[in-house]
Point group: D2
Chain length 341, copies 4
């Protein structure tokens, strides 16, 4: 493979911290717990380990679930989301009187990018009542909410709009909602990430000065993200791993007729890949590391325009359910008196 | 009528300057011209006449047309809108290099209030290319566009959002688009008003400090408005006038059988009402002035919640066509190279 | 008034049976009951009284409420709707095994006309499972649902589409949902009518052969309608009555200073009008009967195009809530196992 | 590979006839021509070759283009679509008086599946004018249009709705519009297929009796389809071919420094794969045939739920443009007097 695959410097970015960790090191960095088949992982990125994660310093909480279009399941996810969001607010000593600005990033006209604007539609806003001296029931804090649109819609860098509004209305803290890109097919529409490390709207263009974060805005910034899209590079790499895992599994079980009946396909994971099997099944490609494979696919597909960023066919229905989980969750956390969990 | 109708101090506000002028004084204040059945009127409100108009000092241009859902007609309206908008920008010596922020007021989730947000969707934005140093074709100026939402959606006074963004991106001038309330059934969805006198978003609540105007923002502010709603008070008052006018007309023509065939109903106007006929037809009500009638209806209907603000049944189709006239017109005026009139 | 108001033969149609009854005769024909401020009225139109009602023979149930955008109130309305719909199905001996076709009339692209299509979106359909032999949980009957669109959208008479589908899938009974026109401003978006007398889609054009009814389709047809629009004629006529009633009320109370403080405006009703007061206040117009007034207004406004059909400004929000009441109600009635009232 | 990859009988269906042909045999079956970078191919499937294509007998015309969101390009595509649609209608001797029913399959609530319903919105319908005896301008034929929804929305098999309406209104011919699944990433949103071989709505479930075709409906049926989704199996298989092709290309050019500068990545095609290179690069996988690879991927991914069907991230914008090409094209072909190409 030596000379003919150029490991050029294409950055393979992912929006989820949890995706940056090698399976072998998982236990070292991640605290995991499971409730109702929903997995909650927590990673602390600090000065020591930040290079490993290629992520900013901060806490990254990941909630992984199966199918959010199932009503009962989505209610369980909501409950855990509320618990985890409360926890992270607590670390910033945010109390019931602190005012909040909720920001929904993304383009309401583009289904997979509309998570933020959709959730904002259902946030219970009260800031104007407080401002105008109108009496507000107990159990409701001052909350404002805005969907600033994308730079392509407004011609203005999204950060600039947010920064201007934060300076004007001076909230005590900010919650930002955004649709992310996954680096694993398993996580598309099946993961909520909560972090206090900030977020970079339209991260392709941005620079650090334009990031929505505590460092820049000088108030706590909690980002809530759900990966709704994935690129071809990821799909191909994941599929190679699934195929290898399946190959290993079948090799072991196929000649044992008794076992054949017991094959449970969902045992096939794409972690813990047997390198020899991968090499046997996929030749030169199989002998590359995951990162090398991704870079090679990227090198082939990006210049000819075939590294599509895609979203599942039924995204319209999923995004409605997910935005509802996020908005209901945030309403519950912000307003003590909201009880229609 | 003496004791039993209390002419209480209910303000009967209209959003259109042209509606504040008595028919008798029209020629004194209004310059009118007609092209392709489209009437353009221009009123200058100044220190001397401002009490008469109950309007702020400034120029008010009114474009009146019949049916904007007719494609050819809407194209004629577009052409005149472009001409008049150019004229008013010229008075502020705005040149091709001046940067513009276009603002669409209103709620995109409420059809009759969605004119602004709908028009913003189709504004050609370029400000980010200039900011990021990306080469922009000749004939395009720097334009940004934003739909700030309503206070009920965001919990923030709309003025505060706009003011913050204007301070941040420092445009040379502003164009604001909004849906208005008509004080005449004839004008609903059939009038465009262009003015340099500013606009008060959500005028029920606002105070002068919160108005979007040259005085407050320190840059020229051109407001473009279309009345899309009307209240019951106006509908009843207009109908009383139409009935009176019809009554007068019929009285004169009915006994002359030859004339009967020639009756052209559209001759029936609600201006130039014969007071005697009105009194005969409508008794005590007919003997009141228009303002008194409106105040009386208001006194009856407002407290019991029946002064509905309404919009025509087919508003969804009309608003799409009108927002297209406005956005195409603004694109043409802002960008010299946009030619798909 | 003699010669100059021609009581021409313009038909003043209303979609609600309850609106056709004189106040004086109400008790004779209408059974009323009230729960949680929601009034349920029931009228039986039969061979003897059908001329009085200008309605087809059948049962007309009317549920009148105040504000459907209030969540708790809408839930109360839902409960009563379910009870009344169950009752009317019972009279046709419809049992849990009978299959149903739910039809949503109207244009999904026109907000005030979208009640039917919006409700259809949320009907739980199961007919295909039964057809394909897929196992269906107990407590669900076979239900199909369709939004045939309007003749203006499809180029096909709506009846023809429905008739063809009924012949093809042969349901045991039909529920039709439609947005209606009110003949009283009080009822717009505040009334549900349930009837077994059938419905005429696009009633302006239709003839009896094209009506969706038991007589034509040979299966029970239950129509569920909500008036979402009202015309100017009705608004003016209702306002005249409100003004008269207010006038009478004030005359009696105004000279009694003690009483003045007690004036409860909501006591002002537009029924039981004092004819003398009406004549005094409204001159010749006041001396006409209600029907004559409506015909006169119609004569004046229709030819000049000012008898607008209008809908309240906030129709987008109301229609969503109302369609939800209807769909949840129908799901509950059709499927025994649906419990998320 | 022998024993451990079971080439089970999973059918790898594609909706496009052109995708079923081996590169080597292309010239034998396909007539190709190119205008303005738009490729038009025509395949005749007949009794002799139908097994090769796994397609029904009929003519399949494929229009391949690059980017439909470019306005000028989309106008060129429109022009060719009109030409080809006219040609196929001519073979059925359809004349200007023949009546047409246009059917838009798919779910208007699901963006990638909304091509049909979106196009139907813009079809000019006239059938009701002819039916009601209203005078219609010359140059317009009788056209009806319907979006029957999906079986999941209505609970009725889509074929049954269409069949019922065809029997009721008896059109002379039918045009059906549908979103398809591609078997090649290159074709997603970049191909229009026109065929007279009929179409199977919701082809997963259907049987031949339920297909919308000339054989079943007894009138000519022209189906217009655009692939808007693709599955993971296809993405992975295509990527393997792209990588192989890139590998071959680089091997030949990499050691020739002069050539390196000339590398034109778009020369890399996924047809004409060098089998030896594929085997070297992809090991056992590389030694399988395309069909075998697809079946293996399917075997791995389908049971664990990772054969996602996906659509590009920007589908909302693309589908609007494509539906406009289709509706404008059909309007032009059906109505001689429609000229706003």
């Amino acid at each position: 493979m030596n000379h003919n695959i150029d490991m050029s410097n294409i950055n393979v970015r992912t929006d989820l911290a949890i995706e940056e960790i090698d399976a072998s090191e998982k236990n070292k960095f991640i605290k995991e717990s499971i409730y109702n088949n929903i997995k909650v992982s927590s990673v602390e990125v600090n000065d020591k380990n930040k290079d490993k994660f290629m992520k900013k310093i901060g806490t990254y909480i990941t909630i992984e679930f199966t199918d959010a279009t199932d009503y009962n399941n989505s209610k369980n996810v909501e409950e855990i989301f509320i618990k985890e969001l409360k926890k992270i607010l607590k670390t910033y000593k945010i109390n019931d009187d602190n005012t909040c600005l909720v920001i929904g990033l993304g383009n309401d006209k583009s289904t997979p990018d509309s998570l933020g604007p959709l959730a904002i539609n259902d946030i219970i806003v009260t800031n104007h009542y407080f401002e105008l001296g109108i009496n507000v029931e107990d159990g409701f804090r001052s909350v404002a909410a805005i969907s600033p649109g994308t730079m392509g819609q407004t011609g203005i860098e999204t950060f600039d709009i947010i920064n201007a509004i934060v300076k004007e209305i001076k909230p005590d803290f900010v919650i930002v909602i955004d649709a992310l890109k996954a680096s694993s097919v398993d996580r598309v529409n099946k993961t909520i990430q909560i972090t206090d490390a900030g977020i970079n709207p339209g991260s392709g263009i941005g620079n650090n000065r334009k990031e929505i974060s505590k460092e820049v805005l000088n108030i706590p910034v909690i980002a809530v993200g759900i990966p709704t899209v994935v690129d071809t590079i990821t799909i191909v790499n994941d599929s190679i791993n699934y195929m290898t895992s399946y190959f290993s599994y079948m090799k072991e079980n196929i000649d044992n007729p008794k076992e054949k009946l017991k094959i449970i396909r969902t045992d096939i994971k794409k972690d813990n890949i047997n390198i020899e099997d991968k090499q046997k099944l996929f030749g030169m490609i199989g002998s590359l590391s995951e990162d090398e494979i991704k870079k090679f696919i990227s090198e082939v597909l990006v210049p000819i325009g075939y590294n599509m960023i895609v979203t599942p066919k039924d995204i319209d229905f999923i995004i409605k359910r997910l935005s509802c989980v996020i908005s209901t969750g945030i309403n519950n956390v912000l307003h003590k008196n909201v009880t229609n969990l």
